[in-house]
């Protein structure tokens, strides 16, 4: 485990932030404050190509692949490892819903969404997990669903906790849910993380801060939606996702693209 301090990491984050351009919509893959990235990023810019036929299509998933109950992470039984359990997971029950859109603003319908997350204590069910927080026998933290005709998705889960990691001394990740998404085209494939509003760890986290533009970072924040909150049952969060597999100048779209 690294002995770099949060102060060192924060100073590096700040030094990069002042050089950052306003149009950087994606994380920098070359982002040394996230130590594991140092040897795992390409040094060359990606090569620009016109998509070929196979890249203009995306894999299909169907109700053969995904059972509707897999969208409820609080029932425990679907993920295989907890098939005996019938209890409720501990934590703040939430629903997370939103729409998946492509780069032209069209709904991504009937497409696969996969999620995974820590439990309420900040612990993952994973063999390499070392955080000595309790496992929850009623929670695997894994879900799937297919988007509806309008691109909508919906999960019921519990709010994950923040957890410590080895990037530097006293490093903690803001609470998040991992999302894996497919679009209408192969090039729209996305894996990302959804965060919760107001987390005090945002400024300290090199993974979140690797997105150098505040507006782009904000796109990963769910919003609390009281209309989605179910009385005597669960809190509600809303988060929309836009998948774009195309290079574009985001600030000034060409007339022909409108």
């Amino acid at each position: 485990m690294s002995q770099d301090t949060q102060e060192q990491i924060s100073a590096e984050i700040a030094a990069i932030a002042v050089q950052a351009g306003p149009d950087e919509r994606q994380p920098r893959v070359d982002y040394a404050p996230y130590r594991s990235s140092v040897l795992r990023h390409p040094t060359k810019d990606p090569r620009h190509v016109d998509p070929e036929t196979i890249e203009r299509w995306a894999p299909c998933f169907s109700h053969r692949d995904v059972h509707p109950l897999e969208a409820d992470l609080t029932i425990g039984a679907h993920a295989g490892i907890n098939s005996q359990v019938s209890g409720e997971p501990i934590g703040e029950r939430i629903t997370v819903t939103g729409r998946v859109l492509d780069g032209d603003g069209r709904p991504v319908a009937g497409q696969l969404v996969e999620v995974w997350q820590a439990n309420a204590a900040g612990r993952y069910v994973h063999k390499n997990e070392q955080h000595p927080a309790p496992l929850d026998p009623n929670f695997t933290g894994v879900g799937r669903c297919l988007t509806d005709a309008d691109g909508g998705y919906h999960f019921t889960t519990i709010k994950p906790g923040p957890y410590p990691w080895g990037n530097h001394r006293n490093a903690w990740r803001p609470a998040h849910i991992h999302f894996s998404l497919f679009g209408n085209q192969f090039t729209e494939r996305l894996i990302t993380q959804m965060y919760f509003p107001g987390d005090p760890l945002f400024a300290l986290d090199p993974i979140y801060q690797a997105i150098t533009d505040q507006r782009a970072r904000d796109a990963l924040l769910a919003s609390y939606d009281h209309d989605m909150t179910v009385p005597n049952h669960s809190m509600g969060y809303r988060w929309d996702i836009v998948l774009s597999g195309r290079d574009r100048t985001w600030t000034e779209p060409e007339e022909a693209d409108r």
Partner: protein
């Protein structure tokens, strides 16, 4: 209509193993079927060290060049070719698929496997292509022919005894050419 701003990517992290892999994820066709080939290789970092927590996905046409549009990649029936596969690297940084060679989707076009790479430490996905070694259409391919020979070589698999070998180098000498699409 204006284009909505795209949602940024984030790293897959270390803990996807309970969520994303599934039984049969790397068998687009059953291993051992007469026309099955193995597509495999290492995912390597800038020091040439294998990456044991990477995930590779492939998306491809069938042997006749048709684009599959059938579900069933997660619960495979052994007969339907869905064109999609997923493989987490093992403890030695190796991935391996059982599949078929993709056919050309358009007359005269070079067939390839479309590839996505994720890893802990990699802040966003990477996209690339695996072309077939010695294919007659490679010479006229717009991407391959636009690259210096040593870079083009990073996109072409090598034939081995079981099929095709393709190493993915995230950084350093012989760094794989990654793509962005316009």
């Amino acid at each position: 209509m204006s284009h909505p701003l795209p949602t940024p990517g984030q790293t897959i992290g270390p803990f996807y193993g309970q969520a994303l892999p599934y039984d049969g994820d790397d068998e687009l066709v059953p291993a051992g079927r007469a026309d099955a080939i193995r597509l495999h290789g290492d995912v390597l970092d800038g020091d040439g060290t294998p990456i044991p927590d990477a995930m590779v996905e492939i998306w491809q046409a069938d042997a006749a060049g048709r684009v599959p549009q059938a579900g069933g990649s997660i619960h495979r029936d052994g007969w339907t070719f869905t064109g999609f596969g997923r493989c987490s690297t093992d403890a030695t940084g190796h991935y391996s698929f059982s599949t078929v060679l993709p056919g050309a989707t358009d007359d005269g076009k070079a067939p390839f496997f479309a590839v996505t790479v994720f890893a802990r430490g990699l802040l966003d996905k990477l996209l690339t292509r695996i072309y077939l070694p010695g294919h007659e259409a490679n010479a006229a391919d717009a991407l391959l022919s636009s690259l210096p020979a040593e870079e083009a070589a990073t996109l072409v698999a090598v034939t081995d005894a079981q099929g095709l070998r393709f190493d993915i180098r995230l950084q350093g000498e012989r760094e794989t050419v990654f793509l962005t699409h316009g």
